[in-house]
């Protein structure tokens, strides 16, 4: 078997909360025993409600947030535990695109400076090379070469997101974490950026971990999907498997809640009640059971393991074999 580009094993990210001089506080397990692999050129969607830990997971892969435990390998090299110098070098292979194109670009730097900063840091090319590279990057993301002379505030939201993408691409990474890159954009602009990402994945063989909540965008763009709930993987599989044959009640509920542009309202929906429980004191057994319409007493007793059901389809539900969740 060829080596995966990204290998994540039992990744843990814990945050202390409520710790004071007099109080030991508690620990939130924002990411709990998450394992997955990504091949070169593969685009994986990471979905879940706010508070599911998807952003924390994405950032901990790049060590923008330090993992508490587990391992992340990039091209076979252990990222967790890398020295700062090694990590800096490794970052030229892994980059991030942020949600908010307004907050993630330095307003005092011209677009040309923004795009060549990383090249400079990684000592890539001469000054003239970098200028050519900036022009090429702008063309790749669909902006005119003159954009290099201008500043972020002169651009619209969609154009700024193009700049953010160009910045991530500047060091020619193999792996990109895209953290809700289209969520802040208007619908018509969103489609432009989704098209751009689809084009880039084909042209550059990029591996992208696409964090998002719009399930139609995820379905369109991704090869595989990971469903996260309170820091744990509930289900993962190919897009076709997850969307057409979901096996976890949470996945089905997410699919049912996604607004469909369809004049006929569905009637057989699984609707969740309430909100995500507090991550400080998650429910015993299956963490989803408090909102699950299929929960039984056993669900409180055992933590369901993430089991393989068919090719590349994993699900953490003790009732996965007995309940039929295929949407009608």
């Amino acid at each position: 078997m060829t080596q995966p580009l990204i290998e994540v094993r039992d990744l843990e990210v814990h945050f202390p909360v409520g710790r004071t001089m007099f109080n030991a506080g508690a620990t939130v397990r924002a990411v709990h025993r998450v394992s997955f692999e990504m091949g070169r050129g593969e685009v994986v969607g990471l979905v879940g409600e706010s508070g599911s830990g998807k952003t924390t997971l994405g950032r901990s892969l790049l060590r923008l947030i330090e993992p508490t435990g587990g391992s992340v390998r990039l091209n076979g090299k252990e990222v967790t535990g890398m020295s700062p110098a090694d990590l800096r070098r490794a970052r030229s292979d892994m980059q991030i695109i942020f949600q908010d194109p307004f907050a993630s670009l330095n307003p005092r730097m011209s677009v040309g400076e923004i795009l060549s900063e990383a090249l400079h840091l990684h000592s890539i090319g001469s000054r003239a090379d970098r200028r050519d590279r900036v022009a090429a990057l702008l063309e790749t993301v669909g902006l005119p070469p003159q954009a290099a002379e201008r500043y972020p505030h002169e651009f619209s939201g969609g154009q700024r997101q193009r700049i953010g993408i160009a910045r991530a691409l500047s060091v020619e990474p193999a792996f990109i974490v895209a953290d809700e890159p289209v969520s802040a954009l208007d619908v018509s602009i969103q489609a432009q950026i989704v098209n751009l990402l689809a084009e880039l994945r084909e042209k550059m063989k990029l591996s992208i971990l696409f964090i998002g909540h719009d399930l139609s965008v995820i379905e369109y763009l991704c090869d595989r999907v990971i469903v996260l709930y309170l820091g744990k993987v509930m289900e993962s599989g190919t897009v076709a498997e997850i969307y057409q044959r979901p096996r976890h009640p949470y996945t089905r509920a997410l699919l049912d809640a996604a607004p469909q542009v369809d004049a006929n309202r569905r009637t057989d929906r699984i609707m969740l009640t309430g909100d995500l429980p507090s991550p400080v004191s998650p429910p015993s057994g299956c963490i989803f059971r408090t909102r699950c319409p299929f929960a039984q007493p056993e669900c409180a007793a055992t933590v369901p393991p993430l089991e393989t059901k068919g090719a590349d389809h994993r699900v953490a539900c003790i009732r996965a074999d007995e309940i039929d969740l295929v949407p009608g």
């Binding site: 409600e49 706010s50 619209s156 969609g158 154009q159 208007d186 619908v187 018509s188 602009i189 969103q190 489609a191 432009q192 989704v194 098209n195 689809a198 084009e199 909540h213 399930l215 139609s216 965008v217 379905e219 369109y220 763009l221 897009v239 076709a240 969307y243 057409q244 509920a253 997410l254 049912d256 809640a257 996604a258 607004p259 469909q260 542009v261 369809d262 004049a263 309202r265 929906r269 609707m271 969740l272 009640t273 909100d275 995500l276």
Partner: protein, 336 residues
Amino acid sequence: MSAKLLDIRDLVVEFRTEAGLLRAVKGVDLSIAAGETLALVGESGSGKSVTSLSTMRLIPEGVGRIAGGEILFRGRDGTVRDLVHLPGREMAGIRGSEIAMVFQEPMTSLNPAHRIGAQIAEAARLHEGLGRKAARARAVEMLKLVDIPEPERRAEAYPHQLSGGMRQRVMIAIALVCNPTLLIADEPTTALDSTVQLQILVLLRRLQDELGMAILFITHNLGVVAEIADRVAVMYGGRIVEDAPMAEILTAPRHPYTRGLLASVPRTDHAARAAGRRDRLQAIPGSMVDPLKPPPGCDFAPRCAWAQEACTAAVPVLEGVASGHHARCRRWREIV
């Protein structure tokens, strides 16, 4: 159809900015019948929120003004009044009691220092003149109405102790405390997770069945439109470009912008995918119209694949294309 509850005619709203006069709403006609849900759809800068704020007369004075048109509202007593010219005191009597509003971000609309029960009770005392005890009982009743579990206990909670979805339920409770005939909901579910969004939409539909209010629902999400609307009006560049019954907007749009919006929503063709094909989305090119420098003629012409020279000569009129269906496009006959 029953008589119009709200009838906006040729509304024009302007703002004074450092860069010059900005015309955010350029002649909007809009009407809502009693008990009906109208979705007002548009992207940022389309003028949808300004239209709704004008109806509440909440355009900040000195910065912006309603420069023309009428907003005719039929009161509970049956008299029709033009809200544009209503004295401030009379407007205050309508606001909150006959027309109520729910905003996108409940955390900024709720007072963080007061218990939620007290905030609902305040609305009941202010508008309904209830006594302290009656208002408090009303608050608990309202929390029950919006499906908040353990309403007596939750009435004692502060906003920060509630989740986003619960806070939005509280906002709906405050808005409905006086049993308004029109509820204006400005992107009330945009900040929520889709699982919670669905709960709120289903709640609004149920409340409408029970209480019979009309809803002006402002959104940019066509999936939400499909979930809640009876009728839809699409705005672009400060004008209505198309309006029609919900199913017709989604299945037989006649304006290129509406079609572009629908095509921007990814819909995966599983057969094509299985064959390894991923067709590009039909994205609308370019960016939103700059309200300070609107293009000549049709606002959408610079981004429109159907645009011809004549489109830039004059603003097209809103023409009837079918019963209850209008489109502001010279070429609607060719667009099917």
